[in-house]
């Protein structure tokens, strides 16, 4: 189709077969979107519906089509391990999100003060985010190991009273996971916040300086409200990580000691593939699904589907 275009010929060629090309135009967007439609239908819609259906059946090791109503949900919510995993994910979620937001914000503010070696600091704060949760979990598992890590170091320099064996204490192990999570993800918050801070109008700083407002008050009462969308973005990202948390727990504590650091993501994987209780596991994942949809839909609607002018 590389015939040289003399303008008159090109124009007439473009105009003449209009009806043919229009029909083709109608068709080709569907061809282009076919893979996406197929994936969405098969991998997202069918699977979710199927998953929900299995949770209403009597499936154990193998899926069966015997409808049992809400039986799996009754069992699920009388399973101590599930209830503990819900409790854990809430505690983890609150501390992890709060920790990342606070540390990330402080780091971003600190880096925004025209410090030397800003690039080096930024690189150091963000590199853990490039690493997987498996790697993060394993690393912190070693550092927290009471016979090898921090506690042993403290022992050897004479602080024998120092006890830092959280990872083997069932009421404290979850906090090790929180710490590892914050180490991995607060750099992300720092990067997002720093971009937000750089977007704050410089005139604003001049004005407040002239008025003699102390900078901490400017940050608290003016900058944080301006950064609201940025903070929401960061929180949403962290919240996804909370809902999905699985690898981090697996690599740090394996859910232990006992079942003390169990989380829903791991509960489902264990019951699907280890303990062969598919009905219960799909019930649990349906609970997660419904929770996420309820929480996310209003925000998504607000963010993407309101009538907005097309970006420049």
């Amino acid at each position: 189709m590389n015939t040289p275009d003399t303008s008159a010929a090109a124009v007439s060629a473009a105009v003449a077969p209009a009806s043919v090309s229009r029909r083709k135009m109608h068709f080709s967007p569907y061809v282009a979107l076919f893979p996406a439609f197929a994936i969405v239908l098969l991998a997202y819609v069918v699977t979710v519906v199927w998953n929900i259906w299995i949770s209403f059946t009597d499936s154990k090791v193998l899926p069966v089509n015997i409808f049992v109503g809400a039986k799996q949900y009754d069992r699920l919510f009388s399973t101590a391990r599930w209830l503990l995993s819900l409790q854990n994910v809430v505690v983890f979620g609150v501390l992890f999100i709060a920790g990342c937001l606070i540390l990330g914000f402080l780091l971003a503010v600190a880096l925004d003060q025209k410090v030397r070696f800003e690039n080096t600091f930024r690189t150091i704060f963000l590199y853990p985010f490039a690493m997987s949760f498996i790697v993060t979990g394993l690393v912190w598992q070693w550092i927290m190991n009471p016979t090898l890590g921090l506690q042993k170091v403290a022992d050897s320099i004479g602080f024998t009273w120092f006890r830092f064996d959280w990872i083997v204490q069932s009421d404290l192990a979850l906090y090790v996971i929180v710490l590892a999570g914050i180490w991995q993800s607060s750099g992300l918050v720092m990067a997002i916040m720093l971009a937000g801070l750089r977007g704050v109008d410089r005139e604003l700083w001049k004005a407040t300086r002239i008025d003699g407002v102390p900078s901490w008050r400017v940050y608290l009462h003016i900058v944080i409200p301006i950064l609201r969308p940025t903070i929401i973005t960061a929180s949403v990202l962290l919240a996804i990580a909370v809902v999905r948390v699985y690898e981090l727990v697996l690599a740090t504590t394996g859910g232990g000691p006992g079942i003390s650091t169990e989380v829903p993501g791991k509960f489902i994987m264990d019951y699907l593939f280890g303990r062969g209780n598919i009905g219960l596991a799909t019930g649990a994942s349906t609970v997660m699904f419904v929770t996420v949809v309820i929480l996310v839909t209003p925000w998504l609607y607000y963010e993407y589907f309101r009538e907005k002018p097309r970006g420049n």
């Binding site: 996406a36 994936i39 997202y44 690189t123 963000l126 490039a130 394993l138 890590g149 999905r244 994942s285």
Partner: protein, 292 residues
Amino acid sequence: MQGPTGRKPQHLTPGRIGLYLFLVIAALFFLLPLYVMLVTSFKSMPEIRQGNIFAFPQMWTADAWVQAWSTACTGLECGGISVGFWNSVKILIPSMILSILISSLTGYALSFWRVKGANVLFAILLLGAFIPYQVFIYPLVLIYRDIGIYSTLPCIIITHTVFGLPVLTLLFRNYYSSLPMELFKAARIDGAGLWQIFFRLMIPMSIPILVVAAILQVTGIWNDFLFGVVFAGRENFPMTVQLNNIVNSTQGEKLYNVNMAATILTALVPLIVYFGSGRWFVRGITAGAVKG
């Protein structure tokens, strides 16, 4: 050369000292695990048992690295982490190409062409980015098993393509929406069709966003554990799964130096991408995250 119009000279006030103190302590906190991993991987086991985790190796040895790469045991097999490395490469490359191709095409079609059902498609994709993977996994296993590809390389490649779609499509759609509509209209008036505009106009214009997508996919797919363990099959376990098997295998004495060398080796590819791409990495995570 500090003239009166220049920036106010920064004296070392107590506030500045505090600021730097905070930054340095924070930097130590972030660097500590990497330091511990590195020094431990160069120690011998007797030294690890006696000494403390922060101490420098008294006798530097790279034995642990050799072992981690070529002879460390994952349960029964003892081929080292290198097996997982090559598996990860075999998974990464096709997954990355396929997912970027489909999602760029989808993003383009969604931003420039009026298609019935496009909003529904987009809404489901958006929602899909937030739903925990555990919801899809079991039915997918059944579907793959019925087609007969469960636990194979194509199975894991398809899975990465499927679950890379939401974030990447969002990325491309946002990028294409920021391009001027006039450009597209001009191409249409010149008689170009959907595919011509895509391959000859849009793809060349989307090099920056393609780089971002590639960074996202390299780090995301390389760091994946969940899909690897469920869908790849024992033969094709990616590096993260193998690493976890090596470290958390219960048999025998724990070889901390080998484990840490294996961990660093596993983290190496995403770290190289991170250090090599600098600002692009940040752009990738923030753009891919929510909005472009």
